[in-house]
C-alpha cells in the first residue's frame, strides 16, 4: 500500500518506544462451569512490539476470542486467567484490579469487537458513543471532545463525519458502523489495538477499507492483535501468526513462515481450504468425501436449460413511499449439471433473485421457467407438484428447521411427497445421511445440538431428498469455518458430479464463487452488471464495479509467501 511510503519509519523519527508493549508467557484461561474446571486456552506466548501485528488464527471453539478478552481483562465471570507472566507496558497485568483494567481499557488498549450492530448502543448517535470514551477518561472539554469525535471519524475514513456523527447506528451501513466502532476504540489513541474478527460481517470492499484503517494505525506505530478465522485477512496485516485449535497453539511464527512453509498439518489444511479461482476442480479439504456422494446416480433426462429467468423484476415500497427495485430486469439461464454463481454485496438483490427463482417471492415482472415448463406464472397450488424439482438451502440452516423436530423427522418430512413406503422412506433417510457424510446417530438429535457443519449437511440432505434438478444455495457456506466450508464445498462438487444436479449458488464471497461456478453473474443494486465464465470475470473484468470488487479481494496466494 502507498501509505507505507508516506509515513517515515517511526524509529528513525527518534521516538522512544519501549521494546515490548504486551507480552504473554504461557497464558492459560479456564472456566468454572458448575464447579467443573474447563481449560479453554492452554498456554499461549507472544510478544507485541510497536508497529507490529500479531494475528491469532483459528476456527470457532479454538479459544481465540477468549484469548482476546483475557488480554483486556474481560474474560468474564467464572473465568480463571493464569500465566507465567502477562505484562502490559511492563506492568504485571495479572495483578490488575477491575478498577485498574477499566483505566487501562480505552487508554492503553483499544478493543474492536466483531459485530458493530450489537456493540453500538442503538439509541444513541455514534458521536455520544465515541465521546463517552473520552469523557470517561476525562479528556478535554465538551467542545474539544466533539471536535475530536469528528477528527476520529475522519481518520477512520467516514465520509461526511459531521452528518454521520449525529446518526444512530441503525442509520449507518455495516461498514460505517464498523468504522464508528473502530473510532471509539482508538479515541484515546491506545498504542495497542485488539480487533476480534473486525471484518467478518462485512462485504469485501468494506473489508478492504477496514483493513486499510488497521494498516494505517499499524504504520503510525500502534500494535495490533488481530483475531480472525480468515487467512486471507490475516495475510494482509500480520507480522506474526499464532494458529490455534482447541485452546492450543499448534504453530507460531512470522507470517512468511506460517503461510509460506507451514509445518503443522492443520495449518496446511487451513491454507488449502481457502477457495479461490486457483482451486477450481481441486479438493479443498483432506477429509474424504463420503463414498455414497461419489457413486453415480441415475440422473433425470435433461436437455438444455433447467432454470430460465427472463427480466425478473421485484419492487419494494419503502415506508416513505419510494419504490425501490430490489431486482431489476435480471435474466439468466442455468444448464443441466451446471453451477451458476451470483455474486454481489449485501443489498445487491441476490437473495431476492434466489427467492424469485424459487417462487417464494412474488414477481413484479418477468418469468421463470423450470425444466422448460411454466413455473412463475402458475398459481401456488399447481406449482406445488413441481416444487420437488427445485430445492433450497439457505444461509442459516438452524432457522430453516422447525425447532421441535429432530433430524429424522425433518428428513422424513421432506419425503412426504414421494411414493415410497414407510420402510422405503426410512431407507432413503439413511441413504441421504450417507450422501452428506453423517452417521445415523444424528437421527434423533435436534438441530440445536448439532455443529454448524452438521446442520448444513442436514440442510443439504433435505434439499436432496426429493431428487431435485436444481438446488438454490443462498450463502450456504458463509457462516461456516474455513475447514468445514471446504468439506461442504467438496461435498457439493461430488454430489453434482454423481447426480448431475444444477446449482444456483449465491454468495458474497468471490473466492467461493470462483471455486465453484461454471458461470458467474455479478449483481449490483438489483441489476446484473456483468456475466461470464469465472475466467472472464476474474481475469478480464469489464465493468468498473467488477474490477473494484476484484481489487478488494484480499490477495491470498500462499505461494507468494514461500518466495
Amino acid at each position: 500500500m502507498s501509505i507505507a511510503e508516506t509515513i517515515d519509519d517511526p524509529v528513525e523519527l527518534g521516538l522512544d518506544w519501549p521494546a515490548t508493549r504486551l507480552s504473554a508467557r504461557n497464558l492459560r484461561v479456564s472456566f468454572l462451569v458448575d464447579g467443573v474446571r474447563r481449560d479453554i486456552v492452554r498456554g499461549l506466548s507472544f510478544e507485541l512490539t510497536p508497529g507490529e501485528c500479531v494475528a491469532i488464527v483459528g476456527e470457532s471453539g479454538s479459544g481465540k476470542s477468549v484469548t482476546a478478552r483475557a488480554l483486556v481483562g474481560l474474560a468474564g465471570r467464572n473465568s480463571i486467567v493464569e500465566a507465567d507472566s502477562l505484562e502490559l507496558h511492563h506492568e504485571d497485568a495479572l495483578a490488575f484490579t477491575p478498577r485498574k483494567w477499566r483505566r487501562v481499557r480505552g487508554r492503553d488498549v483499544g478493543f474492536i469487537l466483531q459485530d458493530a450492530l450489537v456493540s453500538l448502543d442503538p439509541l444513541r448517535p455514534v458521536r455520544s458513543e465515541i465521546a463517552e470514551a473520552l469523557a470517561l477518561h476525562h479528556r478535554g472539554t465538551r467542545s474539544e471532545r466533539s471536535r475530536r469525535v469528528i477528527d476520529l471519524l475522519t481518520r477512520v475514513g467516514v465520509p461526511f463525519p459531521e452528518v454521520r456523527a449525529r446518526q444512530r447506528p441503525d442509520q449507518l451501513s455495516g461498514g460505517l458502523r464498523q468504522r464508528a466502532l473502530i473510532a471509539s476504540a482508538i479515541a484515546l489513541d491506545p498504542d495497542i489495538v485488539i480487533a476480534d474478527e473486525p471484518t467478518t460481517a462485512l462485504d469485501v470492499s468494506v473489508q478492504a477499507q477496514v483493513l486499510g484503517e488497521l494498516e494505517k494505525m499499524k504504520l503510525r506505530g500502534a500494535s495490533v492483535i488481530l483475531i480472525s478465522h480468515d487467512l486471507s485477512v490475516v495475510a494482509q496485516l500480520a507480522d506474526q501468526i499464532l494458529v490455534m485449535r482447541g485452546g492450543e497453539v499448534l504453530e507460531q511464527g512470522t507470517a512468511a513462515q506460517v503461510l509460506g512453509s507451514p509445518k503443522h498439518d492443520y495449518t496446511k489444511a487451513l491454507i488449502a481450504a481457502v477457495p479461490s479461482e486457483r482451486t477450481r476442480g481441486q479438493k479443498l479439504s483432506p477429509t474424504a468425501v463420503p463414498d455414497a456422494a461419489t457413486a453415480p446416480v441415475r440422473s433425470h433426462r435433461q436437455v438444455g436449460s433447467v432454470l430460465e429467468a427472463r427480466d425478473l423484476v421485484r419492487r419494494f415500497v419503502s415506508p416513505d413511499g419510494a419504490v425501490n427495485r430490489a431486482v431489476d430486469r435480471v435474466s439468466f439461464t442455468l444448464g443441466a449439471g451446471e453451477t451458476l454463481g451470483i455474486v454481489g454485496e449485501s443489498g445487491s438483490g441476490k437473495s431476492t433473485t434466489a427467492k424469485l427463482a424459487l417462487g417464494l417471492e412474488r414477481l413484479d415482472g418477468g418469468t421463470v421457467r423450470l425444466l422448460g415448463r411454466d413455473w412463475s406464472t402458475l398459481p401456488e397450488r399447481r406449482r406445488r407438484r413441481l416444487r420437488p424439482r427445485i430445492s433450497f438451502v439457505n444461509q442459516d440452516p438452524l432457522s430453516s428447521f422447525d425447532p421441535r423436530w429432530n433430524v429424522e423427522r425433518i428428513l422424513l418430512d421432506a419425503l412426504r411427497g414421494s411414493r415410497l413406503s414407510r420402510f422405503g422412506r426410512r431407507a432413503r433417510v439413511l441413504e441421504l445421511l450417507g450422501l452428506v457424510g453423517l452417521s445415523s446417530e444424528v437421527l434423533d438429535r435436534f438441530p440445536l445440538k448439532l455443529s454448524g457443519g452438521q446442520r448444513q449437511r442436514v440442510a443439504i440432505a433435505r434439499a436432496l431428498a426429493p431428487r431435485p434438478s436444481v438446488i438454490v444455495l443462498d450463502e450456504a457456506v458463509s457462516a461456516l469455518d474455513v475447514t468445514i466450508q471446504a468439506q461442504i464445498l467438496d461435498l457439493l462438487v461430488a454430489l453434482q458430479r454423481s447426480s448431475g444436479v444444477s446449482y444456483l449458488f449465491i454468495s458474497h464471497d468471490l473466492g467461493v464463487i470462483s471455486h465453484l461456478s461454471d458461470r458467474v453473474l455479478v449483481m449490483k443494486d438489483g441489476r446484473v452488471v456483468e456475466e461470464g465464465t469465472p475466467d472472464d470475470i476474474f481475469q478480464r473484468p469489464q465493468h468498473p464495479y467488477t474490477r473494484e470488487l476484484i481489487a478488494s479481494i484480499p490477495a491470498f496466494d500462499p505461494a507468494a509467501f514461500s518466495a
Binding site: G247, R384, L386, S399, P403
Partner: protein, 284 residues
C-alpha cells in the same frame, strides 16, 4: 465468545433435582386448592352454611381458625368450600379468554388480508375499551351469575392474549422453517398444522397458568362489587364483599380471604413463570 458458549452449554445439567422452594410452595398450594375444590369436606372443620349467632364475629382461634362472620359461620370452612367455585371461575375465565384470543389471534395472523385487518382493528378496539366497563356491560345485559362472570372476565382478558398469539403466529409464519416447508411443496394446511400452530402455541401453556391467577383476582373484584355470585355462596370475592361492612369490628373477614386470593394468584403466576422459563430454555 463462541468458545465460551460451546464450553458452557453442553455441560450444564438440567436442574430437576433441586426444585426451587417458591415453586414447591406454589405447587403445594395448588394441590391443596385442588383437594378443596374436589372434596372440601376433607379439609373443612365446620359446615360452611351452619348459622351460629352466639359465635358471630369471633377472631381467629383454635375452634375457628380464620374466625367467624356476622352469622357465626366458620370463615375457614367457607373459604375451603368456596375454593371450587373460585377455581372454576378462574379456570373458566382463563379458558374463555384464551380460546377467544386464539380465534381472534389466528384470524388476525392467518386470514386473507381484508378479513385479517377487520379482526385486527376489532381486537384493537376491544383493547382500547376499559376491560371493567366491558365486564359491567355484559353483567348489565345478562345479570350477575357465575357464568356471566366467567364470560365477563374472559372477554376482558382476551384482547391482550389475542395480540400475543397474533405476534407468535406471525413470527412462525415468517420463519425459515415455514419457508423451507413451502419450498418442499407442502400444502398450506399442512404448514399451518405442522409448523405454525405448534410453534406459535407452545408458550400458551405458561400463559394459561398466568391467566388463571389473573382471572381469580379479576372475578373476585367483580364479586366484591356485588356483580358476581349471589351472597350465601362462599365464593371468595363474595366473601370479601360480605365482610366489607365489618371491616372495623372484624378485619379478618377482609384480610384473610384477601390473602388467600393473593396467595393463589401468586401460586398460579409462579407456576406459569416457571413453565415459561422451562419452555424457553427448550427453545434456545
Amino acid at each position: 465468545m463462541t468458545a465460551i458458549r460451546s464450553a458452557t452449554v453442553p455441560t450444564r445439567p438440567i436442574q430437576l433435582r433441586r426444585l426451587p422452594w417458591g415453586l414447591f410452595v406454589a405447587v403445594l398450594l395448588v394441590l391443596l386448592l385442588a383437594v378443596a375444590a374436589i372434596a372440601p369436606q376433607l379439609l373443612a372443620t365446620h359446615d360452611p352454611y351452619a348459622l351460629d349467632y352466639p359465635a358471630a364475629l369471633q377472631g381467629p382461634s383454635w375452634a375457628h381458625w380464620f374466625g367467624t362472620d356476622e352469622s357465626g359461620r366458620d370463615l375457614y370452612s367457607r373459604l375451603v368450600f368456596g375454593a371450587g367455585q373460585s377455581l372454576l371461575i378462574g379456570l373458566g375465565a382463563a379458558g374463555v379468554g384464551i380460546v377467544l384470543a386464539l380465534i381472534l389471534g389466528s384470524l388476525a395472523a392467518l386470514a386473507v388480508k381484508p378479513a385479517a385487518v377487520v379482526v385486527d382493528r376489532f381486537v384493537e378496539v376491544m383493547f382500547a375499551f376499559p376491560a371493567l366497563l366491558l365486564a359491567l356491560l355484559l353483567i348489565a345485559i345478562a345479570g350477575p351469575s357465575a357464568v356471566t362472570e366467567i364470560f365477563a372476565v374472559g372477554l376482558g382478558t382476551a384482547p391482550g392474549y389475542a395480540r400475543m398469539i397474533r405476534g407468535q403466529i406471525l413470527a412462525a409464519k415468517n420463519s425459515g422453517y415455514v419457508e423451507a416447508a413451502t419450498a418442499l411443496g407442502h400444502s398450506r394446511a399442512r404448514i399451518v398444522s405442522a409448523h405454525i400452530l405448534p410453534n406459535a402455541l407452545r408458550p400458551l401453556v405458561a400463559v394459561f397458568a398466568l391467566s388463571v391467577g389473573q382471572s381469580i383476582v379479576w372475578s373476585s373484584s367483580l364479586s366484591f362489587l356485588g356483580l358476581g355470585v349471589a351472597p350465601p355462596a362462599p365464593e371468595w370475592g363474595a366473601l370479601l364483599d360480605a365482610g366489607r361492612g365489618y371491616i372495623i369490628q372484624a378485619n379478618w373477614l377482609e384480610v384473610i380471604p384477601g390473602l388467600v386470593i393473593v396467595a393463589v394468584a401468586l401460586a398460579a403466576t409462579t407456576i406459569g413463570r416457571h413453565l415459561q422459563a422451562h419452555l424457553e430454555k427448550g427453545e434456545k
